[in-house]
Every structure is written in structure tokens, then in C-alpha cells.
Amino acid sequence: MTAALPRTGITRKRSNVSERVIVGLLLVCAVVSVLVTLGIIAVLAGETLSFFRSVNPFKFLTGTKWAPAGGSGAGGEYGVLPLLNGSLMIAGGALLVGLPLGLATAVYLAEYAPPRVRGILKPTLEVLAGFPTVVVGFFALNFVTPFLLRPLFGDDRVFIFNAAAGAIAVGLMILPLIASISEDAMRAVPQALREGALAMGASKRVVTLRVVFPAALSGIVASVILAVSRAVGETMAVTIAAGNTPQITTNFFGSIQTLTAYIAQTVSGEAAAGTVRYESLFAVGTTLFVLTLGMNLISARIVRRYRQEYQ
């Protein structure tokens, strides 16, 4: 920090005023981020409160039927559980795909891969992380469903729009996230721990599973929570591939609707401002915001704790 350095004399005095103005401007830039947060909270809270004037908050949180009123009409049922169910199915399914693949990649990169292979694999994974979500959704709808799921499980069982395709797409998107954060965590494990185990006759597998993995566990857990949060917040792939049928189900081959997909699909259908349906966008947005923020905070907390251990 330069603020702690000794202050210098003559030149400083001359440009004191303009210096202060500049630092003030920079401070304003930094404060913008706080304003953004306040803006998000104000917009979400404001509209959600007016939503709760028409819909009982308790019914919103515990209701099992999501059937918004069409057009500007009143009525309709707003129980968020079907949407939540959809989001959790996508997150769970995405973990089923992303976690084993992501962890295998992380372990391979951190413990097994020769530097040259690593130099090719890491950028490839970054490509996967950088694919626009709408393109991954295209892939899920036009490749995963017709050429993977339907041949495997039968055309009559797998709907065109189904949760499984969405979950696989989101799983591919969280794979690089899990791989890179977990790899970092494993690389942070001191070499001495590995060498100690190797000296005692352990093989690479034993070192990985019994030494590196437990030592890096907090970082890995943090990456998984972050990945779940990302999966819950993912919008386009599920909007395109997973359908728009809000329902409480465990059928991965049927159509569902997630929190995010409801927002995307409703705005494309133009919900008029001031209607309950329009306000429901913000109520769902608030639910999404609270869920993801909670998971991100837990994940960051775990990362902070694990950083203290190896310094």
C-alpha cells in the first residue's frame, strides 16, 4: 500500500487540489459497484413487495402450483415450488455430469498430466467455459436430445424438451469451473505431503486419494457449491432445451421449467408492466438472487478458511 509510504514535499503541495479531485473521482468509480448492488436490491425488493400485495408470501413459498394469469388478467396461481424443483433438478443433474468429469480432469491435470498435455488441455477447457450459453443450449436441443438421449432411452420416453438435456448442457458448463478451482486447491497442497507418502511406498493413486484429496477437500467443496450456484443461475441452456412446464416431478425425460427459464420465457412473451405477472418476474428474480448469493457466500467462506492453512 502506497498510502503508508512517506509523503514527499514540494511537488505534492503544488498539485494537491487536482490530486484530491482525481482521488475523489476514483472513489466515485469504486462506489458505483455499491450503487449497483443497492440498485439490484431496490428493484428486486420494490417489485417483489408489490407482488406480495396480490400474492400471499407464504403461498408463494409453499405453493405447489405455478400457473400465472394470462395477459393482464388477475388470478392465477403463484407457488414457486415447481420452479424451484426444476432448478434443483437441473443443478443436481448438472452435478451428476460435471462433478465426476470435473474432478477427474482436476486430478489428472494436477497430479498426472505431463506439462505438455496440460498446456493443451487447459486452454481447451477454457474454450468450453467460454462458449456462449445460447450455443450450448442449441447443442443440447439439437444434439444431446436427438442423438444421445433418444437413441439411448427411447423416443417415446424422452420428450423433445426435457430436463436431462438441460442438465447435461449445464453440467458441461460447470465442468471447467469445478476442474479449475479444484485443480488450484490440489496444487496448493504442499509437495512435502506427497513426498512423505511416496517415501512410505504409496502409489500415485494412494497419494491422490489419501493425501491430496483430503487436504484439498475444502477447496473442492467450495468449487462444487459455486458450481451449484452457477447451475441454478444458468438461463439460456435450460430455456432452450428443458421446456416450459412448471411442475413438481422427478422425471428427467419430461419438460420442466426453472426459475431462470420462467424469467426468460415470460419476458419474451411481453408481460405488461404493473400486472401481477410482471411483478412475478421480480419475485422469482429475488428468489434466484437470494439462493445464488447464499451459496456464493458459503463458498467464499470455505475458500477463505482453506487459504489460511497453506501459506
Binding site: Y108, P132, V135, L172, S203, R205, V206, R210, F282, E309
Partner: protein, 306 residues
Amino acid sequence: MTAAAVEPRPGILRITLGKGATRTKANIVLDGVFAILLLVGTFLGVLAVGLLLYSLYDRGWTRLADDPAAFFTNFVSRFPARAGIKAAIYGTVWLMGLTTLFSFPIGVGAAIYLEEFAKKNRFTNVIEANISNLAGVPSVVYGILGLGIFVRFFKMGPSLLAGGLTLAIMSLPIIVIAARESIRAVPRSIREGSLALGSTNWQTVRRLVLPAALPGTMTGVILALSRAIGETAPLLVIGAAVSIFNTPNDVRDPFSALPVLIFNWTSRPQAAFTDAAAAASIVLLAMLLAMNAVAIFVRNRFSTRW
């Protein structure tokens, strides 16, 4: 730091190797199986990248290569064969410019403040925690913010300005984080040398720290932009259009954008529109790839090693 905090937790200290440490035949086989599983897992991820690219090529390449000039210069159409991406390309390029215009100065300014001038106090902590939390907010929530504030409250409507501001706000935390990292990488001795010669903090930052940190910052900004350009959800929420039959002249004009068009075409039942969506996806990916290449070039060509 207290002694308790430094000491690893008991679980980590007490590592047992178990029976795995003995070199029995079964263990050697298990070692091989484990290594193969890792390879297969890693390979599946790479395979997914390959399949994704192949599916785009398979559906979109003929559509794109057939008559590229028409595809780029036609507006959208009811007839998939005549549909083009002109308005979407213009919209995406405008958005890119506006997003940079808003997010670059503010993001870099915030980074300079936090790295060079901020005192270690609660207020600074709040800003820092706030920025890292904003980085994890789902993009669709930024869309809702844009809809509530820019489109409705400031009555901008679904205009380029509203879209650019929304994407800028979404990119801001990523830019701040990238810029801070490259500012932090400038060694302290550079600053001390300058201060010792009698320059002020700001002079030091402007003449020495910023030029040295610029390549890293640029790389981060370009990567953040390429992320923003590929985003669909926020633009969809603020009301980006598809049926646009002219190119925008003004930031108050309504707009289309490539990802929004891809979404629209993907959602249509006709196979010919699916092909067009794949072709447009190839164009979008090519743009992102080009931006990434520029970012890597800037990093390798201009960055200073200390």
C-alpha cells in the same frame, strides 16, 4: 494470527495410507484402473467440446458457406432461406462499443482506487466484498436490474443504451478484478523510486503504474467483453428485438443482437431456421475467438516481466 489458525486441522495431520501403500498385485491393477478412469473423465470433457463444435459445423456450415454475403447483409425474414444477420451484427458491435465505453473507465478507476488509494478500513472492505459478490450474480438478474432501472425507470425503452449499460454493469466486477490483479503485479519498488524523486501518488500511478498495468488490464477487459457479447439472458429480459429491418443510428434505437437472434431461430420449429441458428452461432464463436486471440496477443506482446 493465532496459533490455532495456523495449525492444520487434525484430519489433515493424521493421514493414513491404509492397505493401499503395499504393492500387492491388486493394488497395482487398481492404480492402472484409476489412471484410466481419470483419462476417460478428462477425455469426455474434451469430447464434449469437439461434439459441440461438430454439431454447429454439421448444421450451420452449408448455410453459412452457401452464400455468406447474403447471410451477412440480409435482415431477418420469415423465409429461413432469405434470413440474414445484418441487424444482429450491427447491434452486437454497437453493444460492444457502448459496454466498453461505460465499463472500462469506471472499472479501471475503481481498481486504481482500491489498489493505490484506499485505506484499509470497513468502507473499503464493504466495497471489496461487494465486488466479489456481484461477480457471482446470475446474468439474468442483471437483466432484471436493467429492465427495472434503465428500461422502465429512466424510460430508455429497449434501446441500445439500456442494453449497453446493462452489459457494462454486468462486466464491471470482472473488469475490476482483472485490473486490480495487473496493478498489483507492478512491483512496489517502481512506486517507491518514483515517490522518492518527489512525484505525487497520482503522478506515480499515471506515469508508471498504469502504463505498466495496461496490457494485463486490456487482456482482462477484452475477455470480460467477449463474455458480455455472448450473453443472451440480460438482453432478452430488457427486451432486445429480433425483427429489426434497419441498422441503428442512435443509442436510443431498438436493437437486435447475435445471441438473441440465435435464441429466436433455435426456438422455431422449422429445420431451416435451426441451420441458420447454427450458422449464426459459428459467426458468434468466430467473433469471440478473434477477441480471445487479441487478448492473448496483447498479453504476450506488451506485458512486462519484472
